[in-house]
């Protein structure tokens, strides 16, 4: 039944029943639906993940309520579970990691974006990306056999001599502990801070620099007072991104933190983090309540990283989209 094409088709609008049949026969509609299904699988997986964490932690949530978050007893034998030591350890080690990684990463990013010639900068960034690809368990291996002995014999005694009067640097020196975990985390997140901050700094328009230099500013003054403030939001984004990584980091922390669920003010004392307790106790958890308490810890960790990642992406988007309009 060959007739002249309808006006809609002739105009290039593939609508209407005839066009639909043509699209189905040519495979377009089939391809669209198939790919749509696979795209929706991604959404489905994310929904299932949240749903599984929620339902499987039901027992612990009902038993302990919100007090789970600030109770500090973790005693599987007596079925007493509280998340505080782990939340505390996670936050302390991540904060320590950031404290070391932010200045180091920002400095390196400034060098790569502002000072180094483009080709050198690209090559060095390639190496930084490789550093980001090193598996977490390798950092743990180096942490256990190099950093821990070094901390015990050199760094911790020195810190204790210099700062032992504060509560942060007291107690016996084991080598393992929050400080060591924070150091390992710092090394692990530095590459992320460098590569994202560098990109954000590169997106700062050239006028910004030139204006400062034209007013007689030195190179450093132009960078620190004109370029960095302009990229501030994006740099904050890179820091949040790194923080989210640090919070969820498992293996390296598990291997050096000391695995002791006690809150201690001293950074030398062994601690515990959410990810580490999951790694150590999950496959050995006996009893439903124990398992569901562990899964609730997973839920807490998920929510922490979820909020931070959302903030980070928003901040990075804000700066890069603003800067890329007049990108040099």
């Amino acid at each position: 039944m060959a007739t002249a094409p309808t006006t809609a088709e002739a105009a290039g609008f593939p609508w209407g029943p005839r066009a639909l049949i043509r699209r189905v026969r040519s495979g377009d509609e089939l391809a669209r639906l198939t790919t749509l299904v696979f795209a929706l699988v991604v959404v489905l997986l994310a929904v299932m993940l949240v749903e599984q964490l929620w339902t499987n932690s039901a027992e612990a949530r009902h038993r302990f309520g919100l007090a789970f978050l600030w109770s500090s007893t973790w005693d599987p034998v007596f079925n007493q579970f509280g998340a505080l030591p782990f939340v505390y350890g996670t936050l302390v080690t991540s904060a320590l990691g950031l404290l070391i990684a932010v200045p180091l990463g920002l400095g390196a990013a400034i060098f790569l974006a502002e000072l180094a010639p483009r080709s050198l900068s690209d090559n060095l960034t390639f190496l930084i990306d490789l550093l980001a690809a090193v598996p977490s368990v390798i950092y743990g291996l180096l942490g256990v056999f190099i950093l821990v002995p070094l901390m015990r014999t050199e760094i911790q005694p020195a810190l204790k001599r210099a700062l032992g009067f504060t509560v942060l640097f007291q107690g016996p020196l084991y080598g393992i502990g929050s400080l060591t975990a924070g150091l390992v985390l710092a090394v692990m997140i530095v590459p992320f801070i460098i590569s994202v901050s560098r990109e954000v700094l590169l997106a700062v328009p050239g006028d910004q620099r030139e204006a400062a230099l034209a007013l007689g500013a030195t190179r450093w003054e132009a960078t620190w007072k004109a370029v960095v403030p302009y990229a501030r939001t994006g740099i904050m984004g890179s820091i949040f991104l790194a923080l989210a990584r640090a919070l969820g980091e498992t293996m390296a922390v598990t291997m050096v933190i000391g695995n002791n669920p006690r809150i201690s003010a001293s950074l030398f004392a062994p601690g515990y983090s959410i990810a580490a307790v999951l790694a150590n106790e999950f496959s050995e958890a006996t009893g439903n309540l124990y398992l569901s308490a562990l899964i609730e810890l997973g839920l807490v960790l998920f929510l922490l990283t979820f909020v931070l990642n959302g903030l980070a992406r928003l901040l990075i988007l804000l700066t890069t989209s603003r800067g890329s309009v007049v990108q040099t």
Partner: protein
């Protein structure tokens, strides 16, 4: 006046050299890690390591043949699950998507990408291990596959977008249907980028330990089939490194060197290929 200028200039030089120092420290970390592993693990990477099973606990000798094969099997499962979903989903985002659905898919993919790997492990435990009550290769492969999906999805989308519009229009002008255009013009043009991205994703999950701890679990013997606990290099490194035996520590170093070597070589090869072709991926 002069004194002030001198002060500003010295601050300038000092701070700029400090930033250089920061970069130097960061870069040297990589070489330190590489060098130390090569030095410590190099002498124990031998024929036995690749061909023998682990000896019973406490005895010296043996190798990690089962863990190497195990890692291979887990990565195969991960790729079988993660690549199709990521590839076809990314194709939808780049080629067929409207406005609302791609936004939601992109958002959830970024969300999944940010989920800590240990939480992915809990997820795989809940949906694969709990119903059948035992650890298995399938569960481990599923966990790694879930981690691959967002990476493959977003890079497929980006590489498809990078294909010039004129190529699409050329095919369309010849009368090809949309699907025909995509499958025989756009996809081949973007294929190298997508392949390299999939390899990078594979290299990333190859080193993952946390999601395997309570899905694939571990095994000191061969793991026939797909439904039994299985050994893998990263988990083996963890177990051996925290174990009490000197010989285990030696083998952990050797396994670390092998794993790092595989991951870095894949990264270097893939990234060099990538930088010579289509637009580079965003990190």
């Amino acid at each position: 006046m002069n004194l002030r200028m001198l002060w500003r200039k010295s601050v300038n030089v000092l701070m700029l050299s400090l930033t250089g120092l920061c970069a130097l420290v960061a870069i040297s970390l990589l070489f330190f890690i590489l060098g130390y592993l090569a030095y410590h693990g190099g002498k124990d990477v031998n024929w036995d390591f690749f061909t023998k099973l682990p000896k019973p606990v406490g005895e010296t000798g043996g190798g990690m043949a089962n863990a190497i094969v195990g890692s291979g099997k887990l990565l195969l499962l991960a790729a079988l699950f993660g690549v199709p979903v990521g590839l076809l989903g990314g194709m939808y985002l780049a080629e067929f998507g409207g406005r609302a659905v791609p936004f939601v898919v992109r958002y959830t993919a970024d969300l999944l990408n940010g989920v800590p790997s240990i939480v992915i492990g809990i997820f795989a435990y809940a949906v694969v291990v709990m119903p059948v009550h035992h650890f298995s290769s399938l569960a481990g492969g599923f966990a790694l596959g879930v981690m691959m999906i967002p990476i493959v999805l977003r890079s497929t989308e980006e590489f498809l977008h990078a294909v010039p519009r004129s190529m699409r229009e050329g095919a369309m002008a010849l009368g090809a249907s949309k699907w025909r255009t995509i499958s025989s013009v756009v996809l081949p043009a973007a294929s190298r980028g997508i392949l390299t991205a999939a390899l990078l994703a594979l290299a990333r999950v190859a080193g993952e330990t946390a999601p395997l701890l309570f899905t694939a679990f571990g095994n000191r013997f061969w793991s026939p089939g797909w439904s039994q606990p299985i050994a893998s290099l990263p988990v083996m490194i963890f177990t051996y490194a925290v174990g009490p035996y000197e010989d285990w520590h030696r083998q952990a170093w050797a396994a670390g060197l092998v794993l790092l070597g595989l991951v870095l070589v894949t990264n270097i090869v893939v990234r060099t290929l990538l930088s010579r072709g289509t637009s580079p991926p965003r990190s």
